[in-house]
């Protein structure tokens, strides 16, 4: 109890509060720039934290990432330029809502449910971190193999109005992920002697190209009505519609946060898979699944919550065992060591006030997200007033520089361009692009866990079911695959 009081006094220091505010604004700013990621924002902060005491240093990382992950949704919703792979799951849905004039509703939903997901995830982190981390340690390549397969299955649910074309798109994504040297055999595949291809296809330029550049191209060849500025419904208050949403989808919010936190706590999974699986779950259990993909807020609510829940969840293995759940916690672990707060079970025993202070910062950052996010949305939505013929070229310029900035190479702008043209034709021919993105996100993870498992199993397929968690996940995945056929047989009218 004493240490909790001490923790509060550590955070209440004006210097610490100032750091939290400043790094929140920084995270908000970087996240909202298309092409720049939360990881990038965090990496830029690290040299600054070298010269801070431990609590403000960790507070800076925590608040910066929470804000950057949320603000990555803003360009996604307004301009169809997703900031992170995690938000790619619902980018199209959010953008459709913007085009229907519901930009404020969807951004508000993103904000409020990000915060709720983050708060619930933090609650789990505070109360159950050591126990959950022990569970996470039982996951070997077999368990991850099934989990990734489950994630890939989501592609079919996400695009279920045309599952066949969605599946083709998913396969193409998996194929793109095989380019380069980063595969279990370390054999350069499809590189044709190019050093750039050796590094594989960078994810962000691909995503920016597929979503944003294709949209610019569609605009360029469009005529008439669609060229004008976007419709805007008048909204008094961004938060106005949110209370109604909370009352309408309480289960979805809870489910999204829980699934997000749980998947986030698995070091091999993370926010990306969490958001996609949550989106698919949301559609599967929705009363109105037919509305998904037409600009319907339900999926955004659930996967938005999952997204930020996973962010908190990723800290569980990081704090308890020093195992990074994603690239952001990898940076955070480094900062923790730097500041003498060594990750490990002992972090809760030695100087517990420090770790409690970090937890307080978690809550604070997620609460601070509401007013700051509101401000960001207010400012950002002015963009919609800009005539589209001037806005589209500027978006393209940001896409180019953003794609360059990921790995500082013009090659990635090429990836963006090719992806944009390809997506333009794919969408015209009815091939959805979201499954392709999912395929690229999960491709290398799928192959890695598949290869590792096969090598360990020495060719025995039974090994994929022998471990208890793997067996349960495997049976569940197969049931999910079989369910459409089973339903069809059940529903067939009896003669």
């Amino acid at each position: 109890m004493e240490s909790i009081a001490l923790a509060f006094s550590l955070v209440a220091d004006p210097y610490v509060l100032g750091v939290i505010l400043a790094s929140s604004l920084f995270g908000l700013f970087v996240g909202a720039i298309p092409g720049l990621t939360a990881t990038m924002a965090t990496a830029l902060l690290v040299p600054v934290t070298f010269f801070m005491p431990s609590v403000p240093a960790v507070a800076a990382i925590v608040s910066c990432t929470a804000m950057a992950i949320f603000s990555g949704d803003i360009p996604g919703a307004l301009l169809r330029m997703p900031g992170t792979p995690a938000s790619a799951a619902y980018t199209d849905e959010a953008y459709r809502m913007t085009r229907k004039g519901q930009a404020e509703l969807v951004l508000g939903a993103g904000l409020v449910f990000s915060a709720i997901g983050g708060l619930l995830g933090t609650l789990v982190l505070v109360t159950a971190a050591p126990a959950l981390a022990e569970v996470a340690l039982n996951f070997s390549s077999f368990e991850y193999f099934w989990l990734v397969l489950l994630g890939l299955t989501c592609a079919v649910f996400i695009a279920s109005d045309r599952p066949l074309k969605g599946f083709v798109s998913l396969l193409l994504g998996l194929l793109l992920a095989t380019i380069g040297l980063n595969n279990p055999a370390a054999h350069p595949r499809f590189t044709f002697g190019s050093d750039d291809l050796l590094g594989g296809i960078s994810f962000i330029p691909l995503m920016v190209g597929m979503f944003a550049v294709s949209e610019v191209l569609r605009f360029v060849v469009s005529t008439g009505e669609s060229r004008l500025t976007l419709a805007q419904e008048r909204f008094g208050n961004v938060f106005a519609g949110q209370w109604a949403l909370i009352r309408r989808y309480p289960l979805a919010i809870f489910r999204g946060s829980a699934v997000g936190t749980a998947i986030g706590a698995l070091p091999g999974a993370g926010a990306d898979i969490a958001a996609w699986i949550s989106y698919a779950i949301s559609k599967r259990f929705s009363k109105t699944p037919e509305k998904f993909g037409t600009g319907h807020v339900e999926g955004v609510v659930e996967s938005g919550a999952a997204n930020n829940g996973a962010l908190s969840g990723a800290w569980i293995p990081a704090l308890v065992f020093g195992i990074p759940g994603d690239s952001i916690t990898a940076i955070a672990i480094g900062v923790l060591y730097m500041k003498g707060m060594n990750p490990g079970p002992a972090i809760f025993l030695n100087n517990p006030e420090n770790i409690y202070a970090v937890f307080i910062v978690f809550f604070l950052a997620n609460l601070l997200m509401l007013p700051l996010g509101l401000l960001a949305i207010r400012l950002y939505k002015q963009i919609l007033r800009v005539p589209r013929q001037a806005l589209m070229p500027v978006i393209l310029a940001f896409c180019m520089v953003g794609s360059f900035a990921i790995n500082n190479t013009a090659f990635d702008i090429g990836v963006m361009l090719v992806a944009g043209v390809a997506a333009f034709f794919m969408e015209r021919n009815g091939f959805p692009i979201a499954p392709l993105i999912l395929g690229v996100v999960l491709g290398s993870m799928f192959e890695e866990n598949f290869a590792t498992s096969l090598i360990k199993a020495e060719g025995s397929w039974l090994a994929f079911f022998e471990r208890p968690i793997a067996g349960a996940l495997g049976v569940f995945t197969i049931l999910v695959w079989l369910s459409p056929f089973a339903l069809r047989i059940l529903r067939r009218p009896r003669p």
Partner: protein
């Protein structure tokens, strides 16, 4: 007289310039790019950012870290080699440079750089589960000999540094490396996870990487492939103490620039790197992170790279990983 005066003037000017940091009144006059061939957030990135921050203070111009990832480091290393040798592009090079050209991935090697100083060596160590039946390296090797093929190792990609460290030790101990199947993993952390989840039994890797799980009582380190124990876990014996092996292996990081750097620029950068290395901040940083800080002057660094290159080349050929 006038001539002498001019000489004196020139001499004075030279002294002044030396005092102010060499004949570099104009270097650097714009930001320097510091290439890190690995992703933002990793250990190499952290070392790079720390060095860049400290060098910036010394050089008086921004030193900006640029992550060029991909191809197991090939892309980033090639970017340093291919940059204009004007001192405005330098970078952190890592031990993979001694392996990639043996694999036929690239032509560049340690000799393609102007070395500016080695800053870190992390020796390989052998990690097993804390509750494993073998309590020492000797017992582990006996178990490998008794049941070839039963114990599996992981901890890096196929043909990665740790893979070679382990196989080098096995060869030196007259054990056929193929009796320890290697399961590739994306990172050492991923391998350690698989170890704790009982998917594999042996993880070669550095102490800083295994530190958290060792401190949590999940993982035990049996021996370290260095000539002295690590500062982080001094109770872990060296392979020499454990089984009498002279095998030494590890990963390292050093600062380098493209070849054909102007003399004065090279001298200025060497000074800046050394000063950054010797600073209190850098030493504290390395100690806190558990990285082994080790200095080598550029000449020694170059010889070290050549030696490593030969050793790795021979090893990779023996185990069939070289092209």
């Amino acid at each position: 007289m006038r001539l002498t005066g001019r000489y004196l003037g020139a001499f004075g000017a030279a002294i002044l310039m030396l005092a102010s940091g060499g004949a570099l009144a104009d270097y650097p006059n714009r930001p320097i790019t510091f290439i890190v061939p690995w992703g933002a957030g990793g250990g190499t990135d952290a070392v790079g950012r720390m060095l860049a921050t400290l060098m910036e203070r010394d050089l008086g111009k921004p030193v900006n870290v640029m992550n060029r990832t991909g191809g197991n480091g090939v892309v980033g290393h090639a970017a340093i080699v291919g940059a204009r040798p004007d001192g405005y592009t330098i970078g952190l090079i890592t031990s993979e440079i001694g392996m990639m050209h043996h694999q036929g991935l690239t032509r560049i090697s340690g000799a393609s750089f102007t070395p500016l100083g080695l800053v870190n060596i992390d020796p390989a160590a052998i990690q097993v589960r804390a509750d494993a039946p073998y309590k020492s390296l000797g017992e582990l090797l006996a178990a490998v000999r008794a049941q070839p093929g039963k114990l599996k190792a992981s901890g890096t990609g196929h043909g990665g540094s740790w893979h070679l460290s382990l196989y080098g030790l096995l060869l030196e101990q007259k054990i056929d490396p193929s009796t320890v199947p290697f399961v590739p993993s994306a990172s050492n952390a991923a391998g350690l996870l698989d170890l704790v989840a009982d998917g594999v039994q042996i993880i070669p890797g550095s102490h800083p990487e295994a530190r958290a799980l060792m401190e949590a009582g999940k993982v035990r380190s049996l021996a370290i492939m260095a000539d002295k124990p690590s500062a982080l876990f001094p109770q872990v014996p060296t392979v020499k103490q454990a089984v009498g092996s002279t095998w030494i292996s590890g990963v390292w990081r050093g600062v380098a620039a493209p070849r054909k750097l102007p003399r004065d620029v090279e001298a200025r950068l060497r000074m800046a790197v050394k000063k950054a290395y010797e600073s209190q901040e850098f030493q504290t940083f390395m100690k806190e992170r558990g990285f082994g800080s080790q200095w080598m002057e550029p000449e020694a660094f170059a010889q070290f790279m050549a030696r490593e290159d030969a050793q790795l080349g021979k090893l990779m050929k023996t185990v069939g990983l070289a092209k």
